[in-house]
Amino acid sequence: MKAVNKNTFREISKSKSRFLSILLICAIGVGFFSGVRATCDIMKTSADDYFDEHNLFDLRVLSTFGLTENDVRAISEVEGVDGVYPSKYTDLALHRGDEEYLTRIFSSTPDEINKIDIYEGRAPESDGECIVSYNKLHEGIKVGDRITLEDLTEADEFPLKGTEYTVVGLYSTPMYISKTQRGSTNIGDGAIDAFMIVPEEQFTGEIYTEIYVRSDKLKNAFSYSEEYKELRDDISDKLETLGIDRSEIRYDEVIGDALREIEDGESELEKAKVDGQKELDDAKKELDDAAKQIADGEKELSDAKKQLDDGAVQLADGEKELADAKKEIDDGKAALAETEKTLVDAKKQLDDSKAQLDAGRAELDSQKAALEEGKAQLNTARSQYEQGLAQYEENVKQVEQMEQAYGSAAVAEMKAQLEQVKAQLDAALAQITQNEQTIAAGEAQLSAAQAEIDAAMSQYNAGLAEYEDGYSQYLDGLKKIEDGEREYNEGVQTLAQKRQEYNDGVKSYEDGLAELSDAKKKYEDGLVEYNDGVAEYNSEIADAEKELSDAREEISDAGKAEWYIFTRDDNVGYSEYESNSERINRIAAIFPVFFLLVAGLVCLTTMSRMVEEQRTQIGTLKALGYSNGAIMRHYMVYAVSGAAIGGVIGAIGGCFLFPSVIVYAYSMMYEITKIHYLFTPENMIVSIGSMTLAIALTVFFSCRKALEETPASLMRPKAPKAGKRVLIERIPFLWNHMSFFAKVSGRNIFRYKRRMFMTVVGIAGCTALSLTGLGLKNSISDIVDLQYDEIYKYSGYLAYDEDIKPSELESIYDTLLEYEPDTKYTRALIKQYETEFSGNKVTCYITCVEDTELFESFVDMHERTSGKKLSLSDGAIITEKAAKLLGLSEGDSLNIKINDGKSGTLTVSGITEQYTSHYLYMSESVYKQLFGENPKFNMVYFDNGISRDETVQDAFSEHVIANDNVLALIMNASSLSSVHETLQIMDLVTVVLIVSAAALAFVVLYNLTNVNITERIREIATLKVLGFYDMEVSSYIFRENIILSIMGGAVGLALGYALCMFVITTAEIDEVMFGRSIHAPSYLWAFLITLAFSLIVNFIMTGVLKKISMVESLKSVE
């Protein structure tokens, strides 16, 4: 070995730390460069491996008319086609408990095509078994779950044999490598949530939905390569051509048959119509007759009824009459008996009276005789008395004459005697009067008795006459009674006869009635039958007519039979994965260059220092006659070997590390987990080569100046760089207020401009990387904060069946209001459609809102940069990321692919800030214009201001889900947490960036500080000799570091903003827009992180400073 070479190797072993620092910075630089550069290819290759391993189809054929075995045969004959696999699928709603997932159900295919991976459980074997796609976002479904399927379309026939299946396994499919996106469907909200596989026999239909095509040539080609695309397009073109013929055949098959069937059906329908009508008419006539008969019968019966009722009244009257008569007869009899008795008594009384009368007459006669006698006596007495009186009166006249004559005395005696006579006369008169009275009384009595007897006699006579009358009357009565009795008996007999007659009448009436009601019932039955018949006839006819017209329409709708050839690119995730990997490539374009630059600068400083230190050696070698080239080779070998070794280490490490991290990060979104590491010569040569070349250049520049000098001047020590006044000294105000050490530091910084520049660049890089990392985190947390706090002001939305009844919808509202009476809500229609503008396609959720004003308070629609409020009353509003992907701006016309190849256009009136998913908001009127029909709302947006607390949310969900009309409930609070999950990828990126930042800061600062120290070792020693404390010595050096770190940090914050924005725009996934602002604390943190790294390096360097020996350093140059 030549001495010069020996010198080089000894140099390396002597200055390990310097060599190592070159090696390390090159390793980091190359590692980044090669690693990030390789990632894109590694991602694609890993995907290609995955696709090959799983036999992913190359082409997929679908037909508007379905596909048959003949199609399968025809395709397999196409050149380049090596495998043809027919399959069926259908989109149904899968229910598990209260949850609903829109699911695409596939028939199972052999492992030779789209080989699935079963993560858990096993493949379905028997009826009622299925496997469900494994999906992180819907981890809910587990092996052993029972699920039910529901057809959301109005198809007559359920596409599967069963509706209930048991999940026996969970699988992933190469067809959909995206874990988050499942493609779209025409049912429900349009977004497929899950996939399911059942054995093919489970499908009821015979026709295949699609045919997978596989080609060996394509399998050998690299999936994302141009070669693949060309080969695939070849086959695809051939299939298109085949499709034209096959479609026609299929059209004739289906449409020809169908048309004939329709025509047959139509004529059959006509005949059926006539026959049916005739039958119905006959029935109608029969029924009418029956109705008339019934009416007659009814009338007859009612007459009979009336007669019967009259008869009943008559009977009752007769009975009553008879009863009266009987009573009368009885009464008469009793009266007659009494009369008889009275008559007998009266007769007896009369006879008694007669006897009494006779007796009374006799007595009266006797009394009459006696009285006559008394009268005679009295008359005698009276004549006597009158004689005595007449005497007396003569005596008195005498006595008075005498007395007149003779005086009274002489007459006294005679008077007394007269008196006596007179008394005697009075007494006799009294007696006579009394007797007379007695006789008068007797006479009166007698005449009274006579009258009495006469009266009694006349009475008697009258009684007798009466009696005789009574008796004759009695006899009459008796006769009458006897007549009555006879008459009565006759009546009784007649009545009994009449009753019998009546009862017979009633019975016949009742019979008639029963007969009538039977007839009536029969009639009604007949009527119902008739009406049913009519309804049936009508509906059957209508159905048949509708069926026929539907069929006709279907045929005209079906349009032409057409084949659709799909490539892998049309599958969700496949091309997205490609663009994601290319995104990494774009990042690869900037990061590694940066690291390469820093590595170059660090090497330049290091090598310049080395050359400077070895001036004497260079001089000596020159003096010895070595050529410049030979001397430079020493340094070249030194640095380039360091760069090369570092480069190899870095390239290998980088190609392992970066793809691993990135593929791992993407494995959260894609099924591809197995990494195919690639160490392509091209990548190795480019990355290691560019680094080595850069280092060689730095060596060249470092040596060139020294080599130009003469050996003598080289052997003299190089005068230290002269001090210079700096700009700041010209500002006395500032300069005079600076501390002495500040002045020194200030001057030192500007003394070594190159080092200053490099330190600033390195530190700025560190700050920029940290800020990018933190900024990415911010932008993600922004999604959460801005999206769910600033934009989404509502609480959640729920889905219901679009064909809901108003009362059921009302019940949903009630459920919401029950929980919180202040709930505000409005209906909306959400459905996924593909939109297109200037060749770019984005799948958007078209959201048509019922109450736009309320909805605007739910979703704060505004332009992001200007903050301008947007209103749905001005037109349709699209979300920002969708607009960006489409390249659309306000006022542009957007194409919307409505189903069946139709498409509509609408003018976008505003672009609103939005971070997750793509929406196209519109009012009902805009929707109507676009689709030509009224929206069928299927969602209710609501805001009830409930807290995001999990227990509160759970309670609310439970409350709402209890309503059977609610199909699904999506709360913002839960969406928010799922966004968190999806974006955890970025956490990893943040960590990678900060670690890189740390590595960069460390290497740069360590290296430069090291150079700084060796360069200024005499100064340091001098300070030590002057009795400076360790702290003072350190701060003398590190103050510069800190000032430079601060400067670098400031530059880095600006740089970091730009870098972060670049990374955000290149790295963000399509459905999500990251926040576009970095938060103030992140700037602070990035700055502090940088300072912290700088301080750590300073701390390590303090030890180095302490160890500097004054004696050694100040040794005079010999």
Partner: protein, 233 residues
């Protein structure tokens, strides 16, 4: 006890398996206010002695005492303080901080002490009143050395240690510097220790310590030192 005493001082360096005795039982005294010249050939150990005296190096064995303080037992921190407050050091190559002006180079030392001579005053004293705002690169060697002396003196050290102060200077300039040192010693009563390989200048010293094989071989006291102007070499 003398102002400066070295007694049986040993200093050994280990280079690989070889041990070099840089001081091998060095013993001498220097009195306060003396101008002492330590003289000897290259590698005799004279700089080692100066370094040990200046607190830049420690001895392995023996006693070093300055103004009654035992420097040999000082730890790192005490040595720093010792250099800071007690010692003024002058180097052959001045060791000025290139990024500081003359004045600032003095200030940086002066400001380590509370009791110091203001930079401008001391610079004027060494004859650089006009050039104090110049950077070292703008000064000649002699001027630089004078800045270096001013820097050392500004701290009012107990001991002024000079390591070949004229080694990089031409004859006349060297003489001027030596004159400055002698004057400082005489007028300020500063104890000055000067290390040189040039025996010709020994007459200017109060005490000459000859070093040979890492030992003080001979100590000569000179009662009447020759003024520098009168010395020729």
């Amino acid at each position: 006890m003398a102002f400066v005493t070295l007694k049986d001082v040993y200093k050994r360096y280990h280079v690989g398996e070889v041990t070099i005795n840089a001081a091998d039982g060095m013993t001498f005294d220097i009195e306060k206010g003396e101008l002492a010249v330590i003289v000897g050939p290259s590698g005799s150990g004279k700089t080692t002695v100066l370094n040990m005296l200046g607190g830049m190096d420690s001895c392995d064995e023996g006693i070093i005492s300055v103004d009654g303080a035992r420097v040999d037992g000082y730890n790192r921190k005490q040595l720093t303080l010792y250099r800071r407050y007690d010692i003024g050091f002058i180097f052959q190559f001045y060791n000025l901080l290139p990024n500081l002006t003359a004045k600032e180079n003095v200030e940086i030392a002066a400001q380590t002490k509370r009791d110091y001579i203001p930079a401008e005053e001391i610079l004027r004293k060494v004859g650089l009143g006009e050039r104090m705002n110049n950077f070292p690169a703008q000064l000649s060697g002699g001027e630089q050395q004078r800045v270096s002396i001013a820097r050392a003196l500004s701290k009012k050290p107990k001991l002024l240690l000079c390591d070949e102060p004229t080694g990089a200077l031409d004859y006349n300039t060297g003489k001027m510097i030596l004159k400055l040192l002698q004057d400082t010693c005489r007028s300020d009563g500063m104890t000055v220790i000067l290390v040189t390989h040039n025996t010709a200048i020994t007459p200017m010293a109060d005490r000459v310590i000859k070093i040979k094989n890492s030992k003080a071989s001979e100590i000569i006291l000179n009662d009447s030192p020759t003024p520098v102007e009168n010395i020729e070499w």
